[in-house]
């Protein structure tokens, strides 16, 4: 579904991503974990087209999308749920969701907007309850659900999520991750970028660890959970003390 080869990106004279190579297969949940400043958000910004890649290849469904602007990548079926939700605060919940469906008309699927809206309301009943409320008045968890629902409205093949658990209460995080799994069950492939490594590896099939712009470890989730370096650096286990 998504293949990235030797991707390099940065801002101005600063290079953030160095030769990142990874892939996501259809139907997978893949997670990218890493500390603050490792380049996780930059990676997703580059994949969504908000930041231009300096070098490397981004293949989506076999097609090179690295030169496309964000709106065309969304139209191709590759959506991003951005960091910090970024809902349209001054607009209602319903308007936010309808905006998410903007590409459907371009794809000639405009008639499916209503059906997809029902779908999202079914997945997030709280959004139906609040559909006429301004998005800025929602709680953090509800805004995250709205951001996910908005991305889902475009009927994407791949959803990339940037730290959906950020700033949320543990119970809400659980709910969000439950929804991520549900989305996969509906056939959407997921690339999940997270700082909450334990939770992310808990639901993912595979994972990558990003450190200062490079991928240092990769493998199936169970392997990463058992990896001593990953445990020490990202899962908060003090192995020396346990000995």
């Amino acid at each position: 579904m998504l293949k990235i080869r030797n991707l390099e990106a940065g801002y101005g004279s600063l290079t953030v991503l160095r030769r990142v190579t990874m892939h996501v297969s259809p139907g997978e949940i893949v997670t990218m974990i890493g500390a603050n400043g490792a380049g996780k958000t930059t990676l997703l910004s580059t994949l969504s087209g908000l930041v231009r890649a300096r070098a490397g290849e981004v293949l989506f469904s076999g097609r090179d999308i690295s030169g496309l602007p964000p709106e065309q990548r969304v139209a191709a079926g590759c959506s991003l749920v951005p960091e910090g939700r970024q809902v349209f605060q001054t607009m209602t919940v319903r308007e936010n969701l309808l905006l998410g469906a903007s590409v459907l008309r371009k794809r000639g699927e405009g008639s499916k907007t209503g059906e997809e809206l029902d779908n999202v309301y079914h997945l997030f009943p709280v959004l139906r309850e609040r559909q006429h409320q301004l998005a800025g008045t929602l709680s953090g968890g509800e805004q995250q659900m709205l951001a996910i629902g908005r991305a889902q409205m475009a009927r994407p093949k791949l959803i990339m999520m940037d730290e959906p658990s950020m700033g949320l209460a543990p119970l809400v995080v659980k709910q969000i991750f439950f929804i991520v799994r549900k989305l996969r069950d509906e056939g959407i492939t997921i690339l999940l970028v997270e700082q909450n490594a334990r939770a992310a590896l808990g639901i993912a099939d595979r994972g990558y660890v990003l450190e200062t712009g490079r991928i240092i470890v990769q493998g199936p989730s169970e392997e990463l959970l058992a990896n001593r370096d990953v445990q020490r650096a990202y899962l908060g286990r003090d192995l020396d003390a346990e000995r």
Binding site: S48, G49, L50, P69, P70, E71, V74, A75, S79, L80, P82, Q86, V87, F88, Q89, T90, M91, E95, L98, L99, G100, S102, V103, R105, K106, R150, A151, A154
Partner: protein, 296 residues
Amino acid sequence: MSAELFFQYLVAGVTYGIIYSIVAIGFNIIYNTTGIINFAQGEFVMLGGMTAVTLNGFMPLPAAIVVAVLVTMAIGALVEIVFIRWLVNPSVLRMIIITIGLSILIREIALHVWDEKVRALPYFTGTSVSSIEVGGVHISPQVLWVIGVCTVIVIILNFFFSCTSMGRQMRACSDNRNAARLCGISARNMVTLSFVLSAGIGALAGCVVSPITYVQYDSGTGLAIKGFTVAILGGLGNSMAAVAAGILLGVLESFSIWVMPTAFKDALSISILLIILFARPSGLFGSREVFSMKEF
């Protein structure tokens, strides 16, 4: 002051106020999608009026107005595509200086095309001396045209922004540009559309007011200053507040004649602009919180 004179002043004030509001709404539409003030907004008003006057020589008045509005919309699109669209992440300052340059350019071209003569469209109904009496107040039919057309513009705009998908997409761009792009909305097209829309509104206003205010190659500048004052007074980006602020400024100006010489009328609006910028830059109706988050 007699009651009749009071109302006469009031009507004159409201009329000018509404004209200012329409110019201010043009500012707001572009500000909302791009975050810049388009200082060539007044020139769109002038272009609309001038083009309609010229066309009126060849075709009936309604057709001349429609064509003039369409021509100005096309110029608006052209201006955006040629001067703004291709800039990669331009700073706000750079965009503003570009629009100032554009306004000078358009003015000079207008001077060459139409020379310095003052022109006007004929009154839409009646003549310059005909009037309708409402409760002892004499109102020119053209004033009713101005009020009517501007009201219709405001209503249609409101409908456009709240009920159509294109209007929603424009609002989304103003709310959060990157998020809008991530929804698959082409932010660039929305910016072009905002230029087309505000050029059209400006041109229509230019046609309707020209029998009263007359139009000349440089009449855009004065209108732009008044419209800018009104946009700031109401709170940048808020079109409904602009209408209220416009009427307020128009009425204040109108009654200022009562206490000071007419020549100081324009000084009044500049003073109001300065006071607002010092004391309450978010505008009378704007929220301070929202204002603090804006770049400009």
